[in-house]
């Protein structure tokens, strides 16, 4: 294949990776930014979203788009509810202590994963995409659905940004992130904000999973890769920075796509990890992060 089309394919692949990664990492970044909690179970919320999407699409007969749209709404809500329960019965009991919550979310990771294995099973199961359209380029074919994932993800990112910057809820969240105690002194129900943010973070991961599941099936171990990549993105972009997360997701996604097409996927991972190391050495707060207060 000639260089031009090859690069086009690589960029398209990278864009899809970046789109899904941005959503997942944003959830992780939000939870860390506002709550100062490193949520190791974030990838499992992603997996849960995919598994629920499978369950919902199989339960709903008729046109595949119907089931998919239902999954797009219901799966994140259910995952959000699970996150809410986890926040209530686990994180709040630990007073959101940073060290204790790391251990607790590791526990949560295993609980969710093993429950999925018990009730969903070890198989990878496919979800039918809402539409099957193959874009025929002169050099190769490409999935129309994949491009729609990029568009949907961009829409969701803009929506999240609007919520955070233009609504009262967003302002309350930002106030809590900026200074918890002052926010509390001003009458902001910090614990409810925490609960809401934790659920929102999980829901973002779940939405990303529902979008990606028609491309790569639902499997109970699928949460590991997104978790690792999300951490890479969040560290590079700066914990708690929405802009940083999106920019870093684009960098990591595109470089992963392009480097793995032209060289090798292993090299792409090496470079991503190397970037993390460099960021940690020279700019520990991340590209767009502010130094911790």
């Amino acid at each position: 294949m000639a260089f031009g089309p090859h690069l086009l394919l690589a960029s398209l692949e990278g864009l899809v990776t970046a789109a899904v990664l941005a959503l997942t990492a944003l959830g992780l970044s939000l939870v860390f930014g506002v709550m100062r909690i490193v949520n190791v179970a974030h990838g499992e919320f992603f997996m849960l979203g995919a598994v629920l999407a499978w369950a919902i699409t199989t339960a709903i007969t008729g046109h595949p788009a119907l089931g998919f749209l239902a999954a797009l709404v219901i799966a994140p809500l259910l995952v959000g509810a699970v996150a809410l329960v986890a926040e209530r019965v686990v994180l709040r009991r630990l007073n959101y202590n940073p060290e204790a919550t790391i251990v607790a979310t590791i526990g949560l990771l295993y609980i969710i994963q093993q429950l999925a294995l018990t009730f969903y099973g070890p198989e990878a199961r496919p979800v039918e995409p809402p539409f099957n359209y193959r874009i025929l380029l002169p050099w190769f074919g490409y999935s129309g659905y994949k491009l729609s994932v990029v568009a949907a993800s961009a829409l969701l990112l803009v929506a999240t940004w609007l919520v955070l910057t233009r609504t009262k809820i967003g302002m309350v969240m930002r106030a809590t992130q900026y200074d918890r105690e002052t926010a509390q002194a001003f009458g902001i129900p910090v614990e409810r904000v925490y609960a809401g943010v934790f659920a929102l973070g999980a829901m973002l991961a779940a939405v990303a999973a529902v979008l990606i599941v028609p491309i790569s099936q639902a499997h109970y171990l699928m949460g590991q890769d997104p978790l690792l990549l999300s951490f890479i993105v969040v560290i590079i972009g700066g914990l708690g920075s929405l802009r940083g997360t999106v920019v870093a997701a684009l960098i990591i996604g595109l470089s992963d796509g392009i480097i793995s097409v032209f060289f090798s996927p292993t090299l792409a991972k090496i470079i991503a990890t190397f970037l993390v190391a460099m960021v940690l050495v020279f700019r520990p707060q991340g590209l767009f992060g502010t130094t911790a207060r």
Binding site: M1, T17, E123, R134, F140, I215, D225, V261
Partner: protein, 434 residues
């Protein structure tokens, strides 16, 4: 009391309290004596314990579940027919998480804690390679159902056997002539970047070359990869056959993306069913495979010419004509491999009977008796077909099936002969010390 009359009449010979107490004490001390009771039972009725190293979790979980089902069915059949050497067979299951490190621990646990007679049932090649040293150190026979070439390569040790399923090197050699003459001569290989994939990488090129074919590109894919479109441009344009071996959950994505990339204008496809074990061939996105060919150890779909033994085996394991669990058409089996569990257990039975196996102290005898086996006839114990066994390399050789995807089913279109897959042994385990 007249002794002359009542002497032999036991009813009249009253048991004194002193005798009764003496007898009781003697009996109790005998029962308490270490080893005595266990030994007595081992001689008679204590079960033969088989340690089943199962992939219950991890990437091999779907295989593990069906390996367990097949093993349970075989053990049930063996026990119903009187067990091994008159003793019932009991299976002890430990999960290895499809992880080599955990696998070695499980083997040691079987040897030292459960004190099983043998270890059995591993599929994934990296787990076998990781666990084999532990089997050698603990001197416990380790019967794997893995299909990798590692056992036959004689790089493991004398305690490791693969008597129930043909190894990859032999499979490839047997099928290469069919590929070269029916699918195409210019082959591009796509394989997972670990042990099992390397068997394909190393043995297909020479096997094809011998048939006038050629491997023009080899694409290794990391086993954790979840997206494949980025690898597809590496497939040379002049490729006639894409030879794909994928394992793990991402295979559906692989096929789907291949379909999106090529559309209807695709090269021939030849794959190992390993990719699609436990996966419904009619899953959305797999339409692209229609008309392509697969290797199958044992056919998933019931075939018109199935033997009585094959039918009985399918019924015993509980799979229907589509290779799915009876009563649950969505629960597709790993039919191409799991027959190996059934056949291996019957090989163990035969070897234990030949050795007059009594307990763990006879493990060395069991190894020698297994090595002395030469062939297994087709029948209820070996429903997949006849096999010959090479005791020097601890490996069996059987027939292979090439199946075509047709109308949403896999139809066997070619069966290789055992001779097609024979190769020169690379070593000799029997020269190693026991």
């Amino acid at each position: 009391m007249t002794d002359s009359k009542g002497y032999f009449d036991l009813s009249k010979n009253r048991l004194s309290r002193r005798t009764a107490l003496k007898g009781l004490a003697a009996g109790a001390s005998l029962a308490a004596a270490p080893g005595f009771v266990r030994y007595a039972q081992a001689q008679s009725s204590a079960p033969i314990k088989i340690g089943f190293q199962s992939h219950r979790t991890g990437i091999g979980a779907a295989y593990g579940r069906w390996y367990e089902k097949t093993t349970a069915a075989a053990v049930k059949a063996i026990n119903a027919a009187g067990g091994i050497n008159g003793r019932p067979v009991e299976v002890v299951i430990e999960d290895d998480g499809t992880d080599p490190g955990r696998g070695a621990e499980v083997v040691a646990k079987f040897a030292n804690q459960h004190k099983t007679d043998i270890v059995f049932g591993t599929l994934f090649s990296h787990v076998v390679i990781g666990s084999a040293p532990a089997a050698g150190e603990n001197k416990i026979p380790y019967f794997v159902v893995s299909e990798g070439h590692h056992v036959a390569s004689t790089k493991l040790n004398r305690y490791v056997f693969q008597p129930g399923i043909t190894d990859v090197k032999s499979q490839i050699q047997a099928m290469a002539p069919w590929i070269a003459s029916n699918a195409g001569k210019k082959v591009c290989q796509i394989f997972p970047d670990f042990a099992f994939g390397y068997d394909h990488r190393d043995y297909l090129p020479p096997a094809l070359k011998a048939q006038g074919g050629e491997v023009i590109a080899q694409i290794a894919i990391p086993p954790t990869e979840s997206s494949f479109t980025k690898y597809l441009p590496q497939i040379p344009a002049e490729t006639e056959v894409i030879y794909h071996v994928m394992v793990g959950p991402a295979v559906l994505t692989f096929v789907k993306e291949l379909g999106e990339f090529y559309g209807s204008n695709r090269p021939q496809l030849f794959g190992f069913i390993d990719s699609l074990e436990a996966v419904d061939i009619n899953s959305p996105g797999l339409e692209f495979l229609d008309g392509s060919h697969f290797w199958e150890g044992s056919p998933r779909y019931a075939q018109a010419d199935d033997s009585e033994a094959q039918k009985a085996y399918r019924a015993a394991v509980g799979i229907d004509d589509n290779g799915a669990a009876v009563g649950d058409p969505k629960d597709v089996s790993t039919a191409a491999h799991m027959f190996g569990c059934w056949e291996t257990l019957y090989v163990v039975k035969k070897a234990m009977e030949d050795a007059g196996y009594k307990g763990p102290e006879d493990r060395a005898k069991l190894v020698e008796a297994t090595e002395a086996l030469t062939e297994f006839a087709e029948g209820p114990e070996h429903p997949q077909g006849k096999k010959i066994f090479n005791g020097k390399i601890h490996q069996c050789f059987g027939i292979q099936n090439i199946s075509k995807v047709e109308g949403g089913k896999l139809k066997v279109v070619h069966k290789t002969s055992i001779e097609d897959g024979l190769y020169e042994p690379e070593g000799d385990y029997t020269t190693q010390a026991l």
